[in-house]
């Protein structure tokens, strides 16, 4: 009897779920019909990136940025009279989900995409966009080959690539007087790419050596063996390429073992979540991040709009994402249509005023005039090192 009632209950639940699913699908269809009718008066701005999962703190600010930029353009009469609509797709920074997100964009007939957030995810999504002639601007994918390989003429970015970041990092490390540097990475596209550039630049310089070059496994139970290895390698500084969960574990392990040497990292670590998790051990950590544009009037305006709309300070990559959204919409305006070749041409030739300065894109797709700065954690906050 009990078994019967259990079965009955699970059946009821299964039907309830199925019913919900059905309704949802119906709604989707309705929405499709609406957009189908209204394509002429509507431009869809796709936003792809990590909107849930570990790295959501990087992806969600770009959605807000796109919404604010679209609201601003719409308030001023839209793009060539058409209203801009923002549609977000989550990829959790996972390559396999990124291809799903890209396919969804294609099937929704999106012509311009802001994203993706992580280099690995961007790399796996780009071929799909290229095939369907969709223009993509990433606010945060810094892996150099994305633009420099020349494989993706549809790809642009409003952030400087990792080799620029690594060059700055190595110069800064040299300025700190470091001689033997342990270069650690997380084996990922972004982390290892950045770390390899650091290694390369260190080897090119005189009087400064790579003491150790190694990858750690993200998510491993602890990193004490790596920390001991850093210690026994005699390194007087650590450069880490990767994201904040691993960085905070390594820094905590180092400081607990009494290893007080400088820890330098990248913009994957220049995030307040890092400070929150590493706590007191975060103090003194250096990280490169996009330049500070707080004196730019457009930047201040965007931040004000964010505070008003969402009641909080914007997160990382917000100015880059806002600029990317503006650049995309202006390019459509300049092109006069959503024609792929015309948009690409507009991005390469016409300057746009954005929070990260007056920019246009070079032949490879990198924004001219944006760059990195060094930050250090002081009293629980990242402060620019002048």
């Amino acid at each position: 009897m009990r078994k019967l009632s259990l079965i009955a209950l699970s059946l009821v639940m299964a039907f309830m779920l199925a019913a919900c699913g059905g309704e949802e699908r119906k709604k989707d269809n309705e929405a499709d019909v609406e957009t189908g009718e209204a394509t002429a008066e509507k431009i869809v701005l796709g936003v792809a990136g990590a909107h849930s999962g570990d790295l959501a703190s990087y992806g969600l600010p770009t959605v807000n940025a796109a919404k604010l930029a679209a609201a601003k353009i719409n308030a001023a009469g839209g793009v060539n009279g058409a209203m801009v609509e923002v549609v977000a797709q989550d990829d959790q920074c996972k390559p396999e989900l990124a291809t799903n997100a890209a396919t969804k964009m294609v099937s929704d007939d999106v012509k311009i995409v802001l994203g993706h957030i992580c280099s690995g995810a961007t790399k796996s999504a780009l071929p799909i966009y290229l095939e369907s002639e969709i223009v993509v601007i990433s606010p945060s994918a810094t892996n150099p080959p994305l633009t420099q390989s020349g494989e993706y003429p549809n790809f642009f970015r409003t952030i400087a690539p990792d080799d620029a970041q690594a060059a700055l990092e190595v110069a800064f490390a040299k300025g700190l007087g470091l001689k033997n540097i342990a270069v650690i990475h997380d084996k990922g596209d972004y982390g290892k790419g950045f770390a390899s550039f650091c290694k390369q630049f260190i080897e090119q310089e005189d009087g400064i050596n790579v003491a150790l070059f190694e990858g750690v496994t993200p998510g491993a139970v602890d990193y004490s063996a790596v920390v001991q290895k850093i210690k026994s390698s005699g390194a007087d500084g650590v450069i880490f390429g990767g994201y904040h969960p691993e960085a905070s574990k390594i820094v905590t392990g180092m400081r607990k073992k009494g290893l007080e040497i400088p820890f330098l990292s990248d913009d994957g670590v220049k995030d307040d979540t890092f400070i929150k998790v590493a706590g007191k051990y975060a103090e003194g950590v250096y990280a490169t991040g996009p330049m500070d544009f707080s004196s730019n009037a457009l930047f201040q305006e965007a931040v004000e709009a964010h505070k008003k709309e969402f009641g909080s300070d914007p997160g990382p990559f917000f100015p880059e994402a806002y600029s990317a959204a503006l650049a995309l919409m202006k390019a459509v305006e300049n092109a006069g249509s959503t024609d792929y070749a015309k948009i690409v041409d507009a991005l390469r030739t016409k300057y746009v005023d954005t929070p990260v300065g007056k920019i246009k894109f070079d032949a490879k797709g990198d924004a001219e005039g944006v760059g990195f700065a060094i930050y250090q954690v002081k009293d629980g906050k990242y402060v620019e090192v002048k």
Partner: protein, 300 residues
């Protein structure tokens, strides 16, 4: 020499954590021949409970050691309750079913618990307070062995000794051994098999919760996904030692922890997992039932 000792202690710490989780896998397998893939999530839930209770107690102004002890007790009780419920909900109704069904149910449970914690808590990494204070007498050794590492290793040794004595000398322990040998016969001689199975899940979950709280306090951060990798590693350790065997799980966990530590230290951390799983493959080739596992006699 110092370097060797440091790696040894690091490996022992890691092995101890694996052992605390692996015991749960091996006990459950020993009794009902099921790989409880939701076990890693029990470890994660233990750590989360520890975090919530510790936060609450800190707010109320409890002193250091009492926070550790109360948080640990709460984590054990809460995780044990989860272990008990999981068995009743996901495995008991499938006890007569083909062996694949409870396995799939276990994987489903694991994914369910991960998502449940992600939605009810957060997907971000959370800082975990240092519950184990620095010991005065260890100040000089701090670089080699920290107090939290020592607490982890010592706790694991005590837990293992306690568990062995429990299985050997108590009535419930005897009932567990009898059930493991032959469930039907155990039932015929009047052992309440359902109770024994529930007890196994409760004990295994408690041990995982102890491990969860200790390691979280050691590395200082948790999120909803930590159970997955720790669970896979502990499962590997249990297979390595011979799944079903309690001393085997302990030995397997230590071997795995030390292999990883020395592979990282003397070769490269790039190959940490490669060495760990090569070891597993080698042992399974030459001793298919694991280091301490018994060859099963096929009944004719």
């Amino acid at each position: 020499m110092d370097y060797f000792l440091e790696l040894l202690f690091g490996g022992l710490t890691r092995g101890s954590i694996y052992a605390l989780i692996a015991l749960g896998y091996t006990m459950v397998y020993g009794i009902i021949e099921l790989i409880n893939f939701a076990h890693g999530e029990i470890y994660m839930i233990g750590a989360f409970t520890g975090l919530i209770v510790a936060g609450l107690l800190t707010m109320l102004g409890f002193p250091g050691y009492s926070i550790l002890i109360i948080a640990m007790i709460c984590a054990v009780i809460w995780a044990a309750a989860y272990g008990y419920t999981i068995e009743k909900v996901a495995y008991k109704p499938l006890r007569g079913a083909p062996r694949l069904s409870p396995l799939i149910s276990a994987i489903g449970m694991s994914i369910f618990l991960q998502n449940y914690v992600m939605l009810s808590q957060t997907s971000d990494f959370l800082p975990f307070p240092e519950l184990i204070p620095e010991f005065e007498f260890m100040k000089g050794m701090g670089s080699m062995l920290s107090s939290s590492e020592m607490v982890i290793v010592v706790t694991t040794i005590m837990v293992c000794i306690g568990l062995t004595l429990f299985i050997k000398y108590t009535k419930l322990g005897k009932a567990m051994r009898a059930t493991a040998q032959n469930r039907k016969m155990a039932m015929l001689v009047g052992i309440n098999v359902d109770m024994v199975i529930s007890a196994t899940f409760v004990i295994g979950s408690s041990l995982a919760a102890v491990g969860g709280v200790l390691i979280a306090s050691h590395i200082g951060q948790i999120n909803y996904f930590i159970g997955f990798i720790a669970g896979i590693k502990a499962f590997t350790a249990a297979v390595l030692g011979g799944i079903g065997s309690i001393p085997g799980a302990m030995l397997g966990a230590l071997v795995l922890g030390l292999t990883e530590a020395f592979a990282t230290g003397y070769v490269s951390s790039d190959y940490e997992d490669v060495f760990a799983f090569c070891l597993l493959v080698l042992i399974l080739i030459f001793r298919p039932s694991g280091i301490m596992g018994k060859e099963k006699v096929q009944k004719v």
